[in-house]
Symmetry: C2
Subunit: 443 residues, 2 copies
Amino acid sequence: MKRSTLFKKIKISPPQILTMTFLVAILFGTILLYLPISTVEPISWIDALFTATSATTVTGLVVVSTGNDFTMFGQSVIMVLMQVGGLGLMTFAILIVLLLGKKIGLRGRILIQQSFNQYSLGGMIRLVQVLLFFAFGIELLATAILAVRWVPEYGWTYGLFTSAFHAVSAFNNAGFSLWDDSLSGYVGDPTVNILITLLFISGGIGFTVLYDLWKTRNFKQLSLHSKVMLTGTLAVNLIAMLFLFVSEYGNMETIGALPLGDKLWASYFQAVTPRTAGFNSIDIGSMETGSIVLISLLMFIGAGSASTGSGIKLTTFLVIILVTTSYLKGKKEAVIFNRAIPSHLLERSLAIVFISMAAVFAGILILSYTEQAPFEWIIFEAFSAFGTVGLSMGLTGDLSTIGKFVIMVLMFIGRVGPVTLAFALARQHREQISHPKGDIFTG
Amino acid sequence: MKRSTLFKKIKISPPQILTMTFLVAILFGTILLYLPISTVEPISWIDALFTATSATTVTGLVVVSTGNDFTMFGQSVIMVLMQVGGLGLMTFAILIVLLLGKKIGLRGRILIQQSFNQYSLGGMIRLVQVLLFFAFGIELLATAILAVRWVPEYGWTYGLFTSAFHAVSAFNNAGFSLWDDSLSGYVGDPTVNILITLLFISGGIGFTVLYDLWKTRNFKQLSLHSKVMLTGTLAVNLIAMLFLFVSEYGNMETIGALPLGDKLWASYFQAVTPRTAGFNSIDIGSMETGSIVLISLLMFIGAGSASTGSGIKLTTFLVIILVTTSYLKGKKEAVIFNRAIPSHLLERSLAIVFISMAAVFAGILILSYTEQAPFEWIIFEAFSAFGTVGLSMGLTGDLSTIGKFVIMVLMFIGRVGPVTLAFALARQHREQISHPKGDIFTG
Ligand SMILES: [K+]
Ligand SMILES: [K+]
């Protein structure tokens, strides 16, 4: 009895492996970025740590200029860290957390098997190969297309590197850019707008959905998860685009002065990027407070499960909306695409949202003591870090040391996933005793 | 068939009765407060409407000075409206929503019967008599005690009236005061501090709990609901008091300059008042941003069910914490005081929190366009209105016309209860078809 307890204590669970992998990647990244070869002028340890955390968690918040303060070697390190943080989690989600994860159990395994039509470990490993092949293929293609645009502008070496950097950054939803004003220089450029957004939308919708689409090519035959993600993404993006277009229409510091076509492009871009790409083509700090509030919500919702994005995930948000509306209508079950939502999904969604809110709330609370900045800057920064989005109203560069650590912790929690992290930290004990049910008044 | 449909359409549900009762009370109040006899100088229709809404929803946000702009007649109207809004909802909760409410059904009836040991309609009506007797008794006693303090200071007529006004306002958690600086003049006065807080804590904990305590006088034999409310209230108040004491300790504009005893009194007072009394003994606008963030959370959580308070309710908040922690620990059910939380409570809690957040979020969004004020003022005002708390950083007096309507709607939703209101508005249709369960990825 004692022995098995000891074994259990030593055994590392999949959530713990995931958490540690990220920590190790960040540590290596920090050391590499601190080397003289990485920077034009020496940077502090904490700035190296911050940059490595931001890159590995695919956030994109920066305390030193990616384009001006890092050498091409340093920029390459950042590129690799984004790739590890973005693709790594997707691979992990498939290979370890979902396949071997005890917490996920049979249910999760059945779910992943249904999504991929794979029933064996061998099939799963092939699946990861497909994923990597697929991801690198997309990034290579995108690099080529961007090169057509940027090699004539910047020459072969820098033009190609810039194209590759932004392709990797976009597909992994990292939001790092070699320009200090992100993509503001290309606010009305269709090639850049369409390609970059296509990259981060496909990275953010999740590999399971992409794979499903590629195999099926027929909406009706898609898995429930894919249907929910596709319609949900379309709906949220459309609503956000319309809202931002109306909200910023007369704002001369953002899109007010642009011609109608560019206004629409900018609204589209700014509507899709908070979930969770983090590029910007207009100045965030000059936006209307209402737009800031909406973008904060979008950053909190985030992207799809097992994707290069973070946040509570679109499906979690939709489950909560569905359960609420069906409860109010007096239905006995919440239904979507003719399928009822099982109760374990409800519990999981509730746990995710609650821990996420608690994390962001704690972050805002601490920052409100340590930072001297308008309150909306603090709120925005906390949501951006948690959603690993990387948009900022301007606080990042002025963060205090404690503030930097708060943002790093939020980025880490956001990327690893609040529930995964909680599983990694919590001591599990399964009770077998059943308790009689007790009722209380609520609301 | 057609006939019964017609009947169903005409029939008014308990949530609809409750909603309409509040609307009628507000309408009458508005007309009375607009009369020349009510005010020193004429006020606008919208300010009369705002004051009536604020009084009936027991919020306490004011656009005109209660003490200086209203005559004693006007102040008496406000007193009656607070009484109707505070006691009315408690009575309603017992008589109609819980007893006859179809939505609540057998479950709710069993719950209320367990709490009160009443099994017949006759018993219920007696219960309401007890409630009213109880409430008026407490208010009368409190008036007498406050009169000892205030009659020597203000003379018989105004001293007695002031005592009665504040007793009614406190027990009903209304937060109206005849002084423009609320109770700041009595920041260190033990009589006022203890009595006023005892009043609004007992009003806010819910009549079911008070009745249970009075009957049982033994913690172990209390109902589950009472146990949860008592320990939860104690825990939340203690944590909030400690937090505010530390946060404001050095703030010279709030408690920094006070002697230690008064510092503790002020922290205690400001910790218990956001749920949902709304008096203040220190200047809210001068508090630390961190304190503001915490108070916003407390205002959102609010008081107990079937009480004179509002908010999502403490039990709703605790259910969500319990379900989250038990999910993370891998337990198959959430347990409190050896009782498992049934799944219908989980659904209800989720619905309450989601609609409440959506309402506050929408309010903040609109106010961010219509008001010219610091963002934290807007956030604070929205949470205060929804929780019918009535604290303000200073925005209320400067509200635009649209802003006033937004705050009125939030107060109304907060008091009637987001779920009750949604039930009143939603068309109910019970489906009998069962759907196969479908799984999706979340988080
Ligand atoms: K990002
Ligand atoms: K109040």
